[in-house]
Structures are given as structure tokens and as C-alpha cells.
């Protein structure tokens, strides 16, 4: 199974990276950019075909390692 975990900063948490990228896009003249926030994705291949089990494993992975839940939220999707 292939899954994706997307980790994004919680609202209100400063995102220096996003801020710098926003500035760069503006000075490159990309039209209309108002704000940028950066996050991470993890594309994970898993053995086994049990959807529920896989989801549980991914949630565990995100909680334990992939996301810093003090400042980040995450979402788990099974892609197929």
C-alpha cells in the first residue's frame, strides 16, 4: 500500500520558511501571492493490505516521529 502523511504547522505558529519563500516569490514577480506556509509530505510504502491496520500504523508513525505534535498537525491518506 502507498500512503501519504502530510504534516503542516498549526495555525498561529510562526513559519519563518514560509515567510522567506513568500518574500522570494514576491520579488520574483509571481503574481498575486499573498501568503505561503510550508509543510512536509512523507510518501510511505507499506507491506500488507489491511486498510485499518495500515491507517493505525501511519497514525502511530506520525505521532511518534513524523510530526512534532506540539506545533504541527498531520493528515494521513491512503493513496492505493
Amino acid at each position: 500500500m502507498i500512503a501519504r502523511v502530510t504534516v503542516t504547522l498549526k495555525t498561529g505558529i510562526l513559519d519563518p520558511q514560509g515567510k522567506a519563500i513568500e518574500g522570494a516569490l514576491k520579488s520574483l514577480g509571481v503574481a498575486g501571492v499573498a501568503s505561503v506556509r510550508q509543510g512536509k509530505v512523507f510518501d510511505i510504502e507499506l507491506d500488507g493490505a489491511d486498510r485499518a491496520k495500515t491507517e493505525a500504523a501511519l497514525k502511530e508513525a506520525a505521532d511518534k516521529l513524523l510530526a512534532n505534535t506540539v506545533i504541527e498537525n498531520y493528515r494521513v491518506e491512503i493513496l492505493g
Binding site: 519563518p16 520558511q17 522567506a20 519563500i21 522570494a24 520574483l28 510550508q38
Partner: protein
């Protein structure tokens, strides 16, 4: 030698570099702000120093590579002018397409600051003429993303054309994965472009030019440049 040191927001080794250029060449380099669109007249060496341009946010060097001054640097390089790109400078040069390949996270994923040994691959370059081929020099490195990689064709071409100038090595010059501290392909520490006038390297020769501060092995690189470009020019 007329050197210009580029200054991007977040660059932080520009003073180290300027001091070394002054020390070795006897001449103050020009400090050039990233928003400029031209290099000072008669610049014959452009230096892209180390640091964390734009915080190294996004990808190291990515934002700086797109700064206004970089067009002038491209033109300077295209005319055969010398460009020395160190650490973040190397990353910027790769992002700007002045050099092939990319610098990924160190294999062990950690920022590391330590002295290491570089084997000089050949001395037939303005950047290495101050050294002997096969000489081992001790210089410090301080980076988290210096793991050089490129597609196989590029690596083959770099190797065939003698464009690898420095490799991470053991103190006796042998190549050993234990001494390739950031995991670079073929232990590559520094490469040039096709014409040989742009050098990118991760370690900091500019931090080892004074005996009283540690070592002088970095001096050869700058001495070679002064030799090439002439002291007084």
C-alpha cells in the same frame, strides 16, 4: 587581483572570506549587495561565501540563486571570469546552474563542524595551483547539507574531465568512507564547471590561513588565485 564578495541576507562568512582575501592578496575585496545588478568594474574574482542565505529555508541556496546580482555573476562566469563558491556559496552556485548537481542533507543528517582532510586531485587549475597534486590539506567544514550528488552521466563527466578538484580523504590521502563525513558521491568535496573557472566546495579554506588560529592549509588556494590574477591588479 580584484575580488568581489557577494552578500546575501543571511550570509555569515563574508567577513571571514574578506579578511582572508585581504590577508593573502593584500587588497580589500569589494562587498557586493545581492540587490545590485552589476559587479564592480574590473572584478576578476567573484566569491560567493558561506552562511545561511535566506535562512537556508526552502532549499539551501535556492532563494539567493535567484537574486538580482546573479545575472552579473553568470555573465562574469560565461566570459571566463573566476568564481569561488564556498559552502552555502557552492549550494547557491548549484541552484543557479553555474555548477551541476545538488547538495543533499549530510548522510548522517546532522550539521557537523570539524577539521577534515582533503586530497587535492590535481594542481592544473587556478584554484589549486598553490598545491601539489595528491597533497592532503587540513581544512574545516561546517555544514548540514554538503552531501554532493548528481546523475550518473554528470558524475562520469566530472570524473573524466578532471573537474573534481578536492575529495574527502584520510590523513594519508586514501579514500575511505569513514572520512567521507557527509556521504558525497565519490567523496567529492569540490568541483569545477566545464570551463574550469567556477569552483564550488563545501569546506572552508578561508578559515585555515593563520597559524595562530589553527592551521594554514587553506592558504594555498588563495595564494594560487593571487598568483593567477596578479597581486597588484
Amino acid at each position: 587581483m580584484k575580488a568581489a564578495v557577494l552578500v546575501f541576507p543571511g550570509i555569515n562568512r563574508e567577513r571571514d572570506m574578506a579578511r582572508t582575501l585581504r590577508l593573502v592578496s593584500g587588497k580589500e575585496p569589494a562587498m557586493v549587495w545581492h540587490a545590485e545588478t552589476a559587479l564592480p568594474a574590473k572584478t576578476d574574482l567573484v566569491v560567493i561565501p558561506g552562511g545561511f542565505s535566506y535562512g537556508d529555508y526552502l532549499r539551501c541556496g535556492a532563494i539567493a540563486a535567484r537574486a538580482p546580482i546573479m545575472d552579473a555573476v553568470q555573465a562574469h562566469a560565461a566570459k571566463g571570469g573566476l568564481v569561488l563558491a564556498v559552502c552555502n556559496g557552492f549550494q547557491i552556485a548549484c541552484e543557479a546552474g553555474l555548477l551541476p548537481g545538488v547538495l543533499m542533507r549530510n548522510a548522517r543528517l546532522k550539521f557537523i563542524c570539524r577539521d577534515l582532510y582533503l586530497r587535492v586531485e590535481h594542481s592544473d587549475s587556478p584554484f589549486t595551483r598553490g598545491y601539489n597534486a595528491g597533497q592532503v590539506v587540513k581544512v574545516p567544514a561546517a555544514h548540514g547539507e554538503g552531501n554532493y550528488t548528481a546523475d550518473t552521466d554528470t558524475i562520469v563527466r566530472l570524473e573524466q574531465d578532471g573537474r573534481v578538484l578536492f575529495r574527502y580523504a584520510a590523513p594519508d590521502g586514501t579514500l575511505d568512507p569513514d572520512w567521507n563525513f557527509n556521504g558525497s558521491v565519490n567523496s567529492i568535496a569540490g568541483i569545477t564547471n566545464e570551463k574550469g573557472n567556477v569552483l564550488g566546495m563545501m569546506p572552508h579554506p578561508e578559515n585555515h590561513v593563520e597559524g595562530a588560529i589553527g592551521a594554514t592549509d587553506g592558504r594555498g588556494l588563495f595564494a594560487g588565485l593571487v598568483d593567477t590574477l596578479g597581486k597588484a591588479a
